[in-house]
Symmetry: C3
Subunit: 412 residues, 3 copies
């Protein structure tokens, strides 16, 4: 391979790595924007912990666990005993990964992905989880569950052999996070005041809609790297198709949610519009490289409808998901994975069934894993902060600080 092509490929993958890293800023803005100001520092702390801790864990053994066998003479599991990543002999040459990128870029791109799953959980459990319990959960979920599931498909494991397809992680990233979010909010219970004595859900408005909006725009931009980088090279035809399908699905997802929510609820709900965009992005992620632009629009639009219905369903189930993480990442993640069997280059009943098996197997594994980790944490140290702390805000109790000390705030 000519040096120019190898270099251009690696440049694109480094740019994508940066964009996926930037998604953490997007997630942080979205989560704090949609929750109350009294829990802002706590949410940011969790997010900063996830990025730093997630990257260090993935470095220490997650990468080796997820992609076993790259280095001669050492199995992935045995690498547990070691520490850190060592580059294979050909890791810096076009012989590695078909010249799509270097070993170092590979690690960093995958490392940025790894932390995403935990961040998804962070939003769902916001405003009431004990930070110590959450941090321990992250260590196990990012350090073990995520790379094990990843190894089944992206590491060349059994789901890969079956023909299960998940281009950039509708299931392997988003649903993996979404399942844990579902288990966590079921175990945690709803925030005080979320459901009235009549059982009806009440809106707890987020404290900064501009931040939430900026978060979604940053996430959309980050998805250029998330999906565009999942091509694992800068192949012009494929990367540019992926950016088109990704952006069209995002736009159509926003519109789907905007239309349905305006019809159903008669007001122009910006947060629904925003979550529709995210739903479209998650929905296209499994097959962003397989779809035509028209198919991307359809997948995205349906994801937008799913968002509106899903948020309502979660409410009916008496579950409390402050940022809509389960609907966006789990339900739309499932939709996107199944859509690979319905639309695009791989569509077919056999493929649909394979996608369904994959969804179910990974779902079962994640629910059980998250249930065990969180169940043990609940029994041993508790998951939920005290009622007093929840009312007064986690910021002042856990961190001794106020996020906005110069401004006068309303209590609620």
């Amino acid at each position: 391979m000519e040096a120019g092509l190898f270099t251009a490929n690696n440049v694109w993958m480094m740019v994508c790595t940066g964009l996926v890293f930037f998604m953490h800023t997007g997630f942080a803005f979205l989560e704090i924007g949609l929750t109350r100001q009294k829990n802002t520092i706590n949410i940011l702390f969790k997010n900063i912990f996830i990025i730093t801790g997630g990257l260090l864990l993935y470095y220490a053994f997650g990468f080796n666990l997820m992609y076993p066998g790259f280095e001669e003479g050492s199995s992935g599991i045995l690498k547990f005993a070691g520490f850190g990543i060592g580059a294979p002999e050909n890791g810096m040459t076009p012989d590695y990964a078909s010249g799509g990128y270097t070993w170092w870029t590979d690690f960093l791109f995958q490392g940025m992905f790894a932390a995403t799953a935990a961040t998804i959980v962070s939003g769902a459990v916001a405003e009431r989880i004990k930070i110590g319990s959450f941090m321990i959960f992250v260590l196990f979920y990012v350090g073990l569950v995520y790379p094990i599931v990843g190894a089944w498909k992206w590491g060349g494991g059994f789901l890969d052999s079956w023909g299960f397809y998940d281009f950039a992680g509708s299931t392997l990233v988003h649903s993996v996070g979404g399942w844990a979010a579902l288990v966590a909010i079921a175990l945690l219970g709803s925030r005080i005041g979320k459901f009235g004595s009549d059982g009806k859900p009440k809106a707890i408005p987020g404290h900064s809609i501009p931040m939430a909006t900026a978060g979604v725009l940053i996430l959309w931009l980050g998805w250029f790297g998330f999906n565009g980088g999942s091509v694992l090279s800068a192949d012009p035809a494929l990367t540019s198709l992926v950016l088109v399908t990704t952006s069209l699905a995002a736009a159509a997802g926003g519109f789907g949610a905007f239309f349905l929510s305006t019809i159903l609820y008669k007001n122009m709900d910006l947060t629904m519009f925003l979550n529709g965009i995210l739903g479209g992005l998650v929905g296209i992620t499994a097959g962003a490289d397989l779809m035509s632009p028209n198919e991307a629009v359809v997948i995205g639009f349906l994801a937008g409808l799913i968002i509106v219905l899903g948020v309502s369903l979660i409410d009916k189930l008496k579950l409390d998901d402050p940022v809509g993480a389960v609907t966006v990442h789990l339900i739309c993640g499932i939709w996107g994975t199944l859509a690979v069997g319905i639309f695009g280059d791989k569509a077919g009943f056999d493929q649909f069934l394979t996608q369904l098996y994959g969804v179910l197997i990974i779902g079962a594994f994640c629910v059980i894993s998250a249930g065990i980790i969180l169940g043990i944490l609940k029994a041993v140290m508790g998951l939920r902060v005290s009622k007093e702390e929840e009312m007064e805000g986690l910021d002042i109790h856990e961190h001794g600080m106020d996020a906005y000390p110069d401004f006068r705030t309303n209590e609620h």
Copy 2:
């Protein structure tokens, strides 16, 4: 063409596409930062609508309308009857667009541009326009007016044959948006309280100067893609020159506005400094590839002076432009377009006249088009919200939400 060069070109163009997309975050921050908190959600809603709706529209027919004849056997206008974009046979090879990028990248880059014109209008009409009317206006302006004007020059139409030059859109994007902004604020009238009973303008301060500042910095960054991508390849000499002229004009524009406003008004006005930067950016856009660094500094500095004078002029005309969009995008857009005839590689009296004709023809077309669309909307459904709604804020009336519910606010 070697694969490495084609890939490097396409990588650059995809990066630029992402940067132009990011400009929408910049526009959103700038607009809400310079307006009152009670209208924040409304502005964000408009902006999110523009990005998603604009992209879908451009996909459905704007791209085919603006660049007719790329596909054999179908004329641009006839594609109206069809839906969506189909790639030409050579769309993914270096035979397309001289290897500068693929068909998919071309569409997405141009699609991100298209929405910009509408976003410019959004700022000018903020805090008083009916959202329904605005959304319908956007559909026609982005879907029809923008691509028609674009076709005259970038699509190879008659202005292109005449030798009219507009590298990245001082006229084709910024003035197109600016003319509509001018027509719209004339039809809408000024916000309640903008002009005292003595006719003197009063400052209505924006609610978050940090957001406005971040918006300008993000826009400057986005301009790396807006101008840098308008090279339509990663040609090293040309792209890097364009980034230099763009950044120097931005810096000089900020200084020009800073100096003149400090001399005239004796206070260090940050918003003038910021709008000066934007003026410099708009001013260099028409000839960013033609100018030497010294010329870029002069063009930008003069644009900065124009900003201070233009803002004062708009006030004297009793027009109310909350974010200075007409001055930044229309007046500096005209200045930048004419500057191509005064400075740089194409300078000359004939070129100056051609530039002037282009400005006038496009101006007339935009004013008439915007006048017709907005005039009909005004007659049929009204352009302006009720006095009560304007006083209480559009957020609570149109969207049933508060942008910052946790904070205590001042009424004004």
Copy 3:
């Protein structure tokens, strides 16, 4: 060199230029987030001044001063008499800079670096410095001191001949800014209320922790360009290694500060976590291309510990550094520079001594230069605003504006 490789190199360097520019948004967010709302516009004004003024100055003569002798027939110093940058004959070809980038990219990348040093000072002197004095200081420090020091090493001067190593500027950028920050806060004195009558430091909490957090995440992203671009080409092995060592050091730095501050102070201090990340980034900057990932983790972790101890030391010295700039940029900059003699490819006692000499010589030069400039300014026009202005806030006094006029604020 093949066109593809040259183009890919230049694309990477332009991306890095954009990322370093984006760091100024990060610095701005960090500084205003960690200070009080009443001084927000003042800080933003300073930052915008630095970016625009710094770039223009660097264009007018800083670039020629820092990299003398690139153009035949003119010495660097003589270029003073000229104005602006002229490209050498081979400036747009692979013959320039080994094909790593064009002359224009070189200028713009270096220009973005230059402003950084002044921005570091801005944070330390916040909330009490006279803006006029600060602006004059910036002109001399960015226009003269920074490029002179830069010329000693990156311009091929005597420190380069001695073998002093500073890959991306732990000393040449961060310490250069840090030394001036130290001198400035010593001359300025502490903010009213920072030290009680018993001499004990009191926390003056920043007004927006979300902005500070976003600032740090943006800075981390920007460091992809700061360090990744310092390779001066897109060499796949080296650039990707640099991104890995940079990110691991950042993560480890955050963890180091998190652990030590939690042990010492028993609360989970988000700002310490954030400054730890910055400390790790500054610490790895001198040797990001020399270290293994394991070494990067160690250097970063130790930088994180240094942050906690350094902040405490600054307090004990009765110095008032609102954002921790001296600890982050000066102390961790020194640490990173010395670490090149302890870890990595160049480790050795001789190298350690050379690093130490470099630190001391540059430190002496910066302290003396900053002392002279600031001393003269103090004598002639004063450095510090009046007590009344400091209490009421610099925004309303210097700029006649409020950063958040719609919100009710607390006085403190």
